[in-house]
Symmetry: D2
Subunit: 352 residues, 4 copies
């Protein structure tokens, strides 16, 4: 994802809580958890003395890398891990220290850090989703019996109750919420394949080491690396994009109700206009549509990134790095914007 | 999907067997199944005499519509159903005939016809997928122990065996094959919502009628219509797009092995060049990449179509109609092309 | 572009006149023009006797290929040209016949055929565009002084006249119309590069031959082949996609006016509903939105196809073949749909 | 564009110089230039005393807004301008101060600020482009006569010289460079339409005011606002996306030459591997491919944003804000990455 963004736009389309999951600090802490768990795995496999290992694990978890130098080196290396490992190795000594990163590769660390970030994002999104669903249930409780004109193909159709439209919104969100636990499992996979994906450097110890790392990180070990088959990332991006589309549909509907006016909906707050101070623009509703269309396009890029050539594609990985955090942030932002929007609705359906 | 296409290109990118699932004839047969099942449902609800109903069902299933007139009317109506129903009604008479289409809407028929087509497409794709997996298992059996240079980030890395690369291909296809049964269930949902999605015209009989239609069509009744929440279509499109990307990865890998030359792979057949008759181009491999990138872009359009405004969006429906059959065909075409490709490999991995 | 499509959908989203520009017959006629012009060029370069050449040109232009066998061979060769040339050569004999296709490559024929098709498409689109602009001018003449509520950010803003909204539509179309002549020049480039793009087989005769072919076909010779730099195609696809977006904006506006109801707009005709016969759906307006969003996604695929590796990418070419004709057809269809739509408007702006 | 991004990734995919053109500070300075030019225009129209106006212009240009409060208000208003104007007004007093922002609307300021940013981006990109072209000319001068195997459809074809491949790269870049001046003109359009796009608040003074603003800002006044027809932005995004694709083609070609090995190309530097220290990965080449595919997807989103409903679409504007700065940055980053890459090539073509 490109650099500095406009501060005011960040508030409209970004999400600080989710952005923090992809910060250098968060990623390098994931790297440390991986490298220390790897040491534990090498100890379980009998390649490092257990006492030396626990001391190394402690020091790895305490390690504070020089982020600026890593950023500089990443431009050359295409990935932050080589410089991270160089720095880490310099801080370690004694028995076992020569085995730091043994059997692993850069992608094992970056992918596993992404897995940890995505799992947190799913948790954040799920929690917000449940609050939003509660908001919609409350809206239905309050206004559900109010009459509305159904709109099909941009034309007034039969009478419905507000509850019918609200329930279409909340049902789609509930279905997404119900998928969150299985998505969490599908995403929570340890990446561990080594230089060319087959853990050959660890020979018969591979399974022991992998299972230990997975246990330490609370991840599932799928039995092999998945450097080039990215289902855990794609499934997560797909769920988030579907979620932002469900929010976009709410935004589109609310914007159209706002267009139809007070016969359909009334708000408190709303955006002010520099030219027409009397207006109350359904700004959050429009944002939801923009966020959904943005993610739909990024999801196309995620599918492009699935064509991951040979044993490792730097091009495909870099494309994922540019796209995934943005899908996470825009979806998270949409959840907050949708709660604002629903909270600002003072009446949905006709006055009776 | 736009009109006439170049015949020679159809052979490269289309799939006649799958295209037939979306033909007018196939769709109108689905319409007839729906309308006859609806009559049965109205009879179960006591709205039509059972004897009269079974006679109507028989005549509806026998009905042969005037496809040309439907096509002409569809341009005006935006959907083929109104003219289909007008024609059908003219052929029917007697008790119950006035209740043809009662409680249903155009989208109920078009969506259910799409569900029936997609379910067949999943069956066709799954069968081809299993054959392709068998081809890859045979390739691994034959050449799996041959040495290969792993390629990471476009550079030679460590030695692997051909089996390592082949298994990455087959494992991703096996994972997709394992998801087919649940996808089949997720896609196989009756669409039935009536004019504005709430089946209001059927009142307390709605459930009885819906369950009858679902039973007759061998579909699942989700308990309500889903005119504006398109998960069954999106899930199917997503699986197909992932499948075509998995095929695209195989194509990309084979094309790159062909670029590296006989040290990696040897073929029989292959494309001829009008300028260099000696060349053997890995044409099927390149097609797989093109088909995958095409579907990745169409999948972005599918996500755009999820922003389905109010109770029915003609814009979103039309966009789905343009995209879904193409995703099905290109994926089906890719499965056939990949089998050709693997079948043409006479050696994978170094000669020993 | 995939195969058979639903007949009724073809009427909604396809364009027979434009589709015909990409038919096998149209392409093979372009091939014949190219091959005969090439013979003339070889004669101008002194490689063939002039009399023999004019006889060969005549026979090449008369040649009727076996389309079925070409389609079958294209699946193997990845392109229809090798079999076309094989068939052509079998029909020719005598002096110079051994030089048929001399110095050319498959892509020279397919790209030049696409150039010829695109140039015709631009002519068709421009003619329709001018008719549509005239329709909008007439609408402005008739209803331009009627009052309308401007709508900004989905809210009623100040009063405007209908002319203000109509002129935004027509001005964007006029700007596109004014770009058509320069686009026609930018698109009308002979493709001629030979086996690897540098015309090496023709040596010092290359320029003479190229200029002759360009003159015979009424195309511009850019001085070199452009096998891998696709600006002529991308510029044309971009103009068409912008045009379909301008039509989509009209469709979106009209659909929203229809949503606001008779205060804004009144229609004759319009789509019927199978469930609510009283409704008049702005079907053509919704189609315009769907066509525009479809093209926007395909345009993303066109940009993906620009990453055209080495001296010729079968993957990138195939992706273009799948995308370009569809962009042409959907834009052409949109132009016809927009004229229908504007023609159906009986009043735009408030009754006074 | 979403929020905080990973610092190390920013170095790989971002561009600080270009990002600064879209910073809050840069945009608010553009706002000040617009508002002060507007005062000058109102003075030219005789609505403000000239002396009072020049004093107001001076104070507006000196005005330092509270960026944090603008960011907070933008989330409510959907745009930063209303709070900017509120703050600005509070700092001004005296004759004419009541006319600050008179006749203008938020979009006039945000679009014009984007125009100013894009024009700077085109200048930055053009300057880098010319340096890159010089690098490629030097590479051709040094290595152009070295033999290479042409690669068509992933197969070795005839012999070429390195100059043939290099010239394809530089010719496409030179064509883009030649389009820069006309693009600069096409992009450099004043946005000025007022509340609903027709400058109605200024009546007969509109032209005088608009021309003054355009002169002060060194922009072209197209004769009317273009709130809903976004050609200046789309043309610029298209040129940048084509440029990043031309860079992506270079990256793809270099990556494939690196795959083929020292027979084709040799590098100094290159990325290190955490697992295989001996490798030299063509990291910049892969980045160019990723940046190009990313922009191709974003360009699809730009086309989606062209469907700009009624007199102002907050959804379409917001989508453009998310997409445009990223297209600018990734293209700028690609230009720097491509210069690094070409600079690291120590030999292209076979050793002789």
């Amino acid at each position: 994802m490109p650099g500095e963004q406009s501060g005011w736009l960040r508030g409209l389309t970004g999400d600080q809580e989710i952005a923090a999951r992809f910060s250098d600090q968060a990623q390098f802490e994931s790297f440390a958890r991986f490298e220390s768990a790897l040491i534990a795995g090498l100890a379980n496999a009998g390649l490092i003395d257990v006492g030396a290992a626990s001391d190394l694990e402690y020091r790895i978890l305490k390690f504070k890398p020089d982020e600026k130098r890593i950023a500089a080196a990443a431009v050359i290396d295409g990935v932050p891990v080589p410089e991270y490992v160089r720095q880490l190795r310099r801080t370690l000594s004694g028995p076992g220290s020569e085995l730091v990163h043994h059997g692993a590769t850069s992608q094992d660390l970056t992918d596993t850090a992404t897995v940890e970030a995505l799992r947190k994002v799913v948790d954040i999104a799920s929690a917000r989703l449940d609050l939003l669903i509660a908001d919609l249930d409350a809206l239905e409780e309050r206004d559900g019996r109010r009459p509305l004109k159904a709109i099909t193909r941009m034309q007034e159709a039969l009478h419905i109750q507000a509850s019918a439209r609200i329930r279409i919104w909340s049902d789609s969100l509930k279905a997404l919420s119900e998928r969150a636990p299985s998505l969490r499992l599908e995403t929570g996979k340890l990446q561990f394949g080594g230089a060319v994906g087959d853990l050959q450097a660890l020979g018969e110890n591979a399974e022991t080491v992998a299972v230990t790392i997975a246990d330490k990180l609370g991840l599932d070990w799928p039995g092999n690396g998945w450097h080039t088959t990215r289902r855990p990332f794609l499934a997560c991006a797909g769920w988030l994009t579907e979620l932002s589309a469900a929010l976009g549909k709410i935004g589109q509907d609310v914007a159209m109700m706002a267009l139809r006016g007070s016969v359909d909906i009334a708000f408190s707050g709303g955006g002010s206009s520099s030219a027409m101070p009397n207006k109350q623009n359904p700004v959050a509703a429009e944002r939801l549509v923009a966020l959904a269309r943005f993610n739909a396009s990024l999801m196309g890029a995620m599918h492009q990134a699935q064509i991951h050539e040979m044993e490792r594609s730097g091009a495909a990985m870099t494309l994922e790095w540019m796209v995934l955090p943005q899908i996470c942030e825009t979806t998270g932002c949409g959840l907050l914007a949708c709660r604002e929007l629903i909270g600002s609705v003072t009446r949905m359906g006709r006055e009776t």
